[in-house]
């Protein structure tokens, strides 16, 4: 028994070293960055990286804005992960692909509309039509996915549906590849009010739109979960599905609704993605999906506000991290390590707070 305790402390000691080391690297990088800003010739900056570049204020703001826009996207997708996790307790790995299906639907329909000329003449109507269509397709995809792949697995050990969802993810991705081909699908040109930099804040209209929609979506979702009858039922199912069913709640219906809402959110996110980045390919959902998944975990999965916060954290970190932490430390080509930074943030957050930034501390028996 004594030995066991000792080994536990060994691992704990090792983890503490890891925590301290990772935080120290971040601190050192940031200090070097600040030193660089103050005076690029000061000894510390010179020692850390003599050829470090310095950012202008405008560039810095550009990084923050793009990080926030990207982070809102991650957060929006992460809401879908969180909804399903909150109710069913498993991570639907394939959610990123549902998002890609939405972006793809948007690209195809908007191109058809652009061919017939409506896209330019009545953009807002077309956009709404595209959004509705994309939400519809995503909802159907998500619901079918639940019915075919996840419903039969309810009550199985937790890893089984997770593994299934990995399979669904690769299946969906390659379905789109097989059906629609490997070429990049682009959205048609957007009106100027979306592409030009606005006088307000000097930020592109589409980025403002993304942040606004993400915030709205989060509020709407919060309202749905906290204030409506459906939301109450969802929370009841999340608490205990069996008791909920005894209380007269149709559990299957609620779960389908959850997937439908998550799918609809993915549809909206897909269109926003299209407006922001304009190009879609069958792999579009994969990396953002994983990062959104990471965002949900960073924020404390199951927590809607936390997911958005996690998304913003990862978005801003991967935008600023390479140039603010790695570059001053003398890493060449730091932008290449962007994704590594995103995953490192995930790991460091979980090292320091094992249940995420806003996650509830779970009793140990739920760790499986």
């Amino acid at each position: 028994m004594q030995k066991t305790t000792k080994q536990r402390t060994n691992v704990d000691w090792f983890l503490t070293v890891l925590r301290v080391a990772s935080l120290a690297v971040i601190a050192a990088g940031f200090a070097a960055f600040v030193a660089q800003l103050i005076d690029s010739d000061n000894p510390f900056a010179r020692w850390a990286n003599p050829d470090a570049i310095s950012l202008t204020g405008e560039q810095f703001r550009g990084l923050v804005v793009t990080g926030l826009a990207q982070g809102s996207m991650y957060g929006l997708i992460a809401l879908g992960y969180s909804m399903v996790y909150g109710v069913l307790g498993f991570i639907n790995f394939a959610h990123g692909e549902v998002f890609m299906v939405g972006a793809m639907t948007g690209a195809i329909t908007s191109n058809k509309l652009a061919e017939s000329g409506y896209w330019e003449s009545s953009f807002v109507v077309c956009l709404l039509l595209v959004v509705v269509l994309s939400m519809l397709v995503c909802t159907i995809t998500a619901v079918v996915m639940e019915r075919v792949a996840y419903r039969p697995l309810r009550g199985k050990p937790r890893l089984i549906p997770l593994i299934t969802s990995i399979g669904v993810s690769f299946f969906l991705q390659n379905c789109v590849l097989a059906l629609l081909g490997s070429t990049v699908k682009s959205y048609p040109d957007l009106p100027n009010w979306l592409t030009d930099k606005r006088t307000f804040l000097d930020v592109q209209g589409s980025k403002i739109l993304v942040v606004l929609v993400a915030a709205t979506a989060m509020v709407a979702l919060w309202y749905l979960v906290e204030k409506t009858k459906t939301g109450k039922a969802m929370r009841a199912v999340a608490e205990d599905a069996e008791i909920a069913s005894l209380m007269g709640i149709d559990v299957n219906r609620i779960i389908v609704k959850t997937f439908a809402v998550g799918g609809a959110m993915a549809g909206v996110a897909g269109i926003l993605w299209g407006l922001l980045f304009r190009s879609v390919i069958h792999t579009t959902g994969f990396l953002p999906g994983i990062k959104a998944f990471s965002s949900a975990v960073v924020g404390g999965i199951g927590n809607l506000g936390g997911s958005m916060a996690g998304g913003l954290t990862i978005g801003v970190a991967e935008s600023l991290g390479p140039l603010m932490i790695l570059e001053p430390l003398g890493v060449s080509g730091p932008s290449q390590l962007r994704d590594a930074v995103a995953f490192a943030v995930l790991i460091i957050v979980l090292l320091v707070r094992p249940s995420g930034l806003f996650g509830e501390q779970l009793p140990s028996d739920e760790r499986t």
Partner: protein, 467 residues
Amino acid sequence: MTRFHSSRTLAKRKGTFAWAIAVLAALSLLAASCGNDDDGPAVADQAPLATATEAPMATEAPAADPAPAADPRGDAVGDGSLGVVTVPAGEAIQIRSLNAISGPVAFLGLPNQRAVELAIADYGDISGFSVDMGTPLDGLCSSEGGQAAAQTIAADEQVIGVIGTSCSGAAVAAAPLITQAGMVIISPSNTSPALTSDFQGNPGESYNAGYYRTAHNDLVQGAAMANFVFSELGIDNAAALHDGDPYTQGLASAFRNSFEELGGTVSGFTGINKGDTDMVPALTELAAGSPGALFFPIFQPEGDFVAAQAPTVSGLEGTSLLAADGLLVDDFLALTDSVGMHFSGPDTRFGTNTNQSTGQSADQILAAYTQAHGEAPSAAFWGHAYDAATLLLDAVAAASWVEDGDLHIDRAGVRQHLNSVSGYNGITGTLSCDDFGDCASQKITVVYHQDSEAVEAGKENVVYSYP
């Protein structure tokens, strides 16, 4: 407790281990020695190995000793040193396609494979024998995939030559296997200098005799772009961006080296990752050096994001954007963001070019391609693949003769013919093979794209040619 116990089992296991290792080693050695007794294939493997390295020398005197008049070989080239393939009457001449046709790089390999199919159909029979491409092999754009596919090819002694690979990484592993089996491999889209030479007479570290390519060498394209930026645009401070692909990284490096040799400064050189969408951090990193030009020889969709986001980054507003053949595709040119960009690439003004072997013009082939596959080629190398296939079929025709109804093909003759290719009119221009397998016209053009509505015009608006 646990630790003590597990270490004991470990120690115990070690003893049993040593025994097991010894027995297995002995057995496998025995098996290996048995393997050498199996002399049939071993000798067959050895022969081409010995002669393969001498093949380039044989090219110095092409068709030096014409065959005697009575010889059924007629004027077929080759000295038989790599063996002769016999195609029995009624069967087909076997060639193979080895391209990346699945996964994220399928966009590069599929057009190659489809162009080879078209070329075979257009070429028709050789001395009454049809040509069979067999099952298309997938090089997967990776060295393992290239090797495994090459083993499949090398195992089939009827195969004369291979069109592929799509990616240089696959060729590094595939070329040695295929060339040692006496076959030839002609790549439509490998551009790494390591596979051929540096044009100074030094073979690349992965060069194999029997390897040819109809794609240009990265060194030429890097130099072309560097010269264009430095001399034509008059910019002496440039930046380069790649996406971690060996091709884009190699080309960006070639550009950097050439540009610095010319006396310019490369103020930024960095990479992004495939799958990334937010390019602002990478662009900001490059913007810090205030470059006058940004060269990003990457692919879609990342290229779309760079083109769209670069003008929004403070410090890059006035920077000239330059890309390479990876982005010289219709889907990209149709974007308004690509207007005003320069693209380097092999001369793709194919329109009027006609392949001398099939008589098909580029427009006809493109129309047939679109008709058959429902989409325009997703990469620029379909013409190179078509030419590679007709070069190979020409070589087969030149090195083969009919005897007793069977077709005989001299493998050395195929190489000899390819080595002597000079002034061949293909879809991609005039092809001539050098001593290290570089057959492309090596003519790099820089086009200027002005109107997203006029994609074809953009491709043909050549503002600079190199050399």
